[in-house]
């Protein structure tokens, strides 16, 4: 077990173990290094109409780096998507919208109090930013993680739908079934406290919620 307060992430333990029992998650890279990776798959983007998606963590937390990558992709003719919580300075959101082709914006809960309780922040700034993007972004998909006992109730879905309708420019809402894959990370970091205490939703629940959203006229994908 690593004590996160004491580990300096120097990597010596990783180098010393031939069996790769230890690893450093994540690495520092330059724009050129990231682009070298991104460009490896150009043939697949060209074939499928896909491109590079910048997600996180939260890509808007490294705005200069993100902007440089988006510009580099644009120069290479690679389509880009930014997968974000939209919890950022509007100024940054505005800048990123100039070069990104697609935004994937999460809406976790329409109730500000619930949002604060579970994520540590309220949702005002997030919803403001989404409103802002609705006017300037090339394309937006809204993504809702479906977490039973937290946001999967009918009322929240209706509120979410009405909000997205009010944006007028967004047609697509994807719903993502909660999965407990993150627990493994929690175990590795903290010894494993399940903060969410939630189960993965069943296929029925997902289909039902998709039906509700489609009733509002959205194009809906489960799993997006």
């Amino acid at each position: 077990m690593t004590d996160p307060d004491k580990c300096a992430a120097c990597g010596e333990c990783v180098a010393a173990c031939p069996a790769v029992a230890r690893e450093i998650v994540g690495q520092k890279m330059t724009v050129a290094e990231v682009m070298a990776q991104v460009k490896k798959d150009v043939i697949f983007y060209d074939q499928s109409g896909g491109g590079a998606t910048f997600s996180g963590g939260e890509p808007l937390m490294q705005p200069q780096f993100l902007l440089a990558l988006l510009a580099a992709c644009r120069a290479e003719g690679i389509r880009t998507a930014v997968d974000t919580t939209c919890h950022a300075e509007p100024q940054i959101v505005r800048q990123v919208a100039e070069t990104a082709d697609l935004f994937l914006c999460d809406i976790k809960h329409m109730d500000c109090g619930m949002h604060r309780q579970y994520t540590g922040v309220g949702n005002e700034r997030i919803l403001d930013n989404i409103r802002l993007l609705a006017g300037i972004a090339r394309e937006i998909y809204i993504r809702v993680p479906i977490i039973p006992g937290f946001n999967s109730g009918r009322e929240n879905m209706d509120q979410t739908s009405r909000f997205v309708q009010s944006l007028k420019t967004v047609r697509r809402v994807d719903i993502l079934p909660y999965n407990r894959g993150g627990l493994e990370k929690a175990v590795r970091l903290t010894g494993g406290i399940d903060l969410m205490q939630a189960q993965a939703p069943g296929d029925d629940t997902m289909a039902e919620i998709a039906g509700v959203l489609r009733g509002y006229g959205f194009e809906v994908k489960i799993g997006g």
Partner: protein, 761 residues
């Protein structure tokens, strides 16, 4: 057969005529069976799922028969009667006279040594040259038309100027005998069906039997008039080819959808055929293939190989002769049948051209997703390029395709012979031991220097190249003799009727009569040899963190007490399959050396040698004769298969595997085999189908030759291994073919489980 050879015919007649008379004898004496309910008739043996043996090629010993009867995997019931006939008649007569014995007698000592060491295998020691595919000629011409062609050829013989005129005359006489024999064989089926019809009470079956009799009286003597006759004609031809000899992986109809389309269209337009009837006939046809077990092998092969049903790969889609989109209504019908029947054989492939609609690829992807390893997917545009590079005309190349596992040829116009697998990693093992096989201490290769004396990776690689060239020479010298043995003793006059231009040239299929003649040597273990060389380059020469001496000591000890070094070699080394040029460049170098050693060299039938890269299941055997390798693989474990990365070495996802594999110049091969395995979930929904389609299309834009998919999860496979009785119908893609998982040996099962499971796109 033995009775025939014991007569004085072999002493009286020329070899081709004698072979033709043997064929006639079989066609006249074979038990005729018309099974209940079937529409397409004819079996190779006296009953479905029975198989004849071919003692003239390779005679089973009493012990072989015992093994075949007793083995756990796919036993063949060998009755006491059969044993007695073998003991008293067949074995005493054939001993010393079979092709197998002729071949081993003719091989020199270096060949024998290398063969025994597991350096290469030899296809023709147990079965005859095969993998032949038919074009559209039988749908246009009856056997009587071929008879006329043969007679024209006979009339044109020039006994004044052509020293080969007599040999040609005998070959053509042999063909004439075979034409008549096949027609007679069909007539015997017509008689039998008529007999059964007379006694049949069910009016529907009675009508069917009468129709069968009518069909069998018309084809193969005449060109087929409708869909039913076309299929029955092909089937008689198939039985003819596989009765005449025991060709490797039998015989295939090739582009079945294109061959049948005109009959289908005509039937639908005239109202004489419905798509339901066409579907039923195709289903009957499929069952025919599935009823043909591959004739059992002998010796070690009989014990170890879970012998499969005889291969036949039916190509769908692709392009037409004029280069246009070849997909038609029958294509989709064939794919429906593949999905409904879920049979191991005939194996199905789709030939994908950039001109084919996405609907076609998606339809096939839907079947792939159901997880029985079919259809396999070929790049038809690239195959045409490969064939053109090898000297085929544009039309012949477009009419060509793939057969057996992945090998390509000009359908109906080429004898392309797989001659044996070649163990690429074993060459390195010999190089690291200065030509000596460490397993036996015998000298197999040439002296290329003590490895500790190599100052650079280039010196090591040069030694590898010299060692490889020498061993290819050993193999090729053997091949060239074996070719002449077949040309001399085992002509195939019936098959020669079917392959252009044997009739026109009066020469046998085994003797250069075909328009094109290719010999393939199949390289095996590309992933393993790449990773092994890469590990040496990286650790010994570039980073100098491991000495050659330590590495050799660890290999010699099978990494016993060297686990940290093994982990380093296995985990902390660039590996092929990750789109990492460090390793992939080594792969390219290995390919280049192999290609240069083989490609373009003359065969004894007037053709050229070419390379392809496919393993079937031999990577397991080749691994079993090898010690530990510098990529961290322990002694005896399987090698990598096809051009796939070493099992578990690819960690960057499927697109990286495709990128790495595509760095090889597939256009200069005659086939490569790439396996990928997915969980069924990966391919869920319309998105899953589109992803699979795009993955295929992308790989083919990169000029990949072939890709096939296993869609099962490792968990399922482990359960199947533990409780085979519950998973009898689980089909997995093995190499160039699918098989029942529970019928595979344990090593092969483990190997399939270990193949990297791709978790997501």
């Amino acid at each position: 057969m033995t009775a025939f050879y014991q007569s004085d015919v072999p002493m009286r007649e020329s070899v081709p005529v004698c072979r033709a008379l043997a064929f006639k004898y079989l066609m006249e004496h074979k038990t005729i069976c018309v099974n209940d309910g079937e529409l397409i008739v004819g079996e190779k043996g006296p009953a479905p799922k029975a198989t004849p043996t071919y003692p003239e090629l390779c005679c089973h010993s009493m012990q072989d028969l015992q093994i075949l009867n007793d083995r756990e995997k796919i036993p063949f019931a060998v009755s006491e009667d059969v044993r007695r006939v073998y003991r008293e008649k067949i074995i005493p007569f054939w001993s010393g006279k079979t092709m197998r014995e002729k071949i081993f007698k003719a091989m020199d000592e270096p060949w024998r040594q290398a063969y025994e060491a597991g350096m290469f295998t030899e296809f023709m020691e147990q079965r005859s040259p095969g993998h032949t595919v038919l074009d559209n000629k039988i749908y246009r011409k009856g056997m009587l038309d071929f008879m006329q062609d043969i007679q024209h050829s006979l009339q044109a013989l020039d006994f004044f100027n052509d020293p080969q005129a007599y040999a040609k005359q005998q070959e053509l006489h042999g063909m004439l005998i075979c034409v008549k024999a096949l027609i007679r064989f069909a007539e015997r089926h017509a008689d039998k069906a008529r007999d059964l019809a007379a006694r049949e009470r069910d009016p529907q079956r009675k009508a069917e039997l009468e129709r069968i009799a009518e069909v069998c009286s018309h084809v193969p003597a005449h060109a087929p008039r409708d869909f039913w006759e076309a299929l029955q004609y092909y089937w008689f031809v198939h039985l003819g080819v596989t009765t005449e000899m025991n060709p490797w992986d039998s015989f295939c109809p090739g582009r079945l959808d294109q061959h049948l389309y005109s009959f289908y269209k005509k039937g639908i337009e005239e109202g004489t055929l419905t798509s339901e009837q066409a579907r039923e006939l195709l289903q009957c046809f499929w069952i025919k293939f599935n009823n043909q077990p591959a004739p059992p092998k002998v010796g070690v092969t009989a014990a170890e190989s879970g012998t499969y049903t005889d291969f036949a790969q039916i190509n769908s889609g692709g392009m037409k002769e004029d280069g246009s989109d070849g997909v038609n209504d029958v294509t989709y019908l064939v794919l429906d049948v593949v999905e409904e029947m879920r049979l191991v054989q005939p194996s199905s492939s789709i030939q994908v051209s950039k001109k084919n609609p996405d609907r076609f690829v998606r339809r096939a992807a839907k079947i792939i997703r159901t997880g029985f390893g079919q259809p396999s997917v070929f790049n038809c545009d690239l195959i045409a390029q490969e064939l053109i590079r090898m000297g085929k005309s544009v039309a012949d190349a477009r009419n060509g395709g793939s057969s057996g596992c992945v090998e390509v040829g000009a359908f109906g116009k080429e004898a392309y012979i797989l001659t044996g697998y070649f163990n690429l990693p074993k060459v390195l093992e010999l190089t690291l031991n200065n030509g000596v096989d460490p397993r036996t201490g015998k000298r197999i290769g040439i002296g290329t220097g003590e490895p500790e004396q190599f100052g650079t990776f280039e010196q090591l690689f040069e030694a590898y190249r010299r060692q490889l060239n020498y061993l290819i020479d050993v193999k090729m010298r053997g091949n060239n003799i074996i070719e002449r043995l077949y040309a001399t003793y085992m002509p195939a006059p019936f098959l020669s009727i079917l392959i252009d231009d044997c009739i026109a040239s009066g020469r046998d299929y085994h003797d250069g009569g075909a328009r094109y003649n290719t010999n393939y040597i199949q390289g095996v273990g590309l992933g393993t040899i790449t990773d092994a060389l890469t590990a040496i380059k990286y650790h010994v020469f570039d980073r100098k963190t491991v000495s050659m001496r330590d590495l050799l000591a660890a290999l010699c000890a099978n990494f016993e007490d060297h686990e940290p070094l093994r982990q380093t070699l296995w985990q902390k080394t660039p590996k092929y399959g990750n789109d990492d040029d460090y390793a992939d460049d080594v792969m390219r170098s290995v390919f280049e050396v192999y290609f240069q050693a083989v490609d373009g060299r003359p065969t004894m039938r007037g053709g050229r040698y070419r390379v392809n890269l496919l393993p079937t299941t031999v990577h397991v055997y080749f691994g079993s004769v090898m010690g530990a390798t510098p990529d961290g693989r322990k002694a005896g474990l399987p090698l990598s298969e096809g051009i796939s990365p070493v099992q578990g070495a690819d960690r960057q996802g499927p697109t990286a595997v495709l990128k790495s594999a595509a760095k090889m110049d597939h256009g200069r091969t005659g086939g490569t085999l790439l396996n990928m395995k997915f969980n069924p979930q990966v391919l869920e929904g319309d998105d899953g189908l589109d992803n699979l389609k795009d993955l295929i299309r992308s790989y083919f834009r990169l000029d990949g030759h072939h890709i096939q998919f296993n869609v099962v999860d490792a968990e399922t496979l482990r359960k199947a291994q533990a409780r085979p009785e519950e998973y009898q119908n689980l089909i997995v893609r093995v190499a160039g073919y699918s098989d029942y998982f529970v019928d595979l040996g344990k090593d092969l099962q483990n190997e399939i489980i270990a193949r990297t499971e791709q978790k997501a796109f």
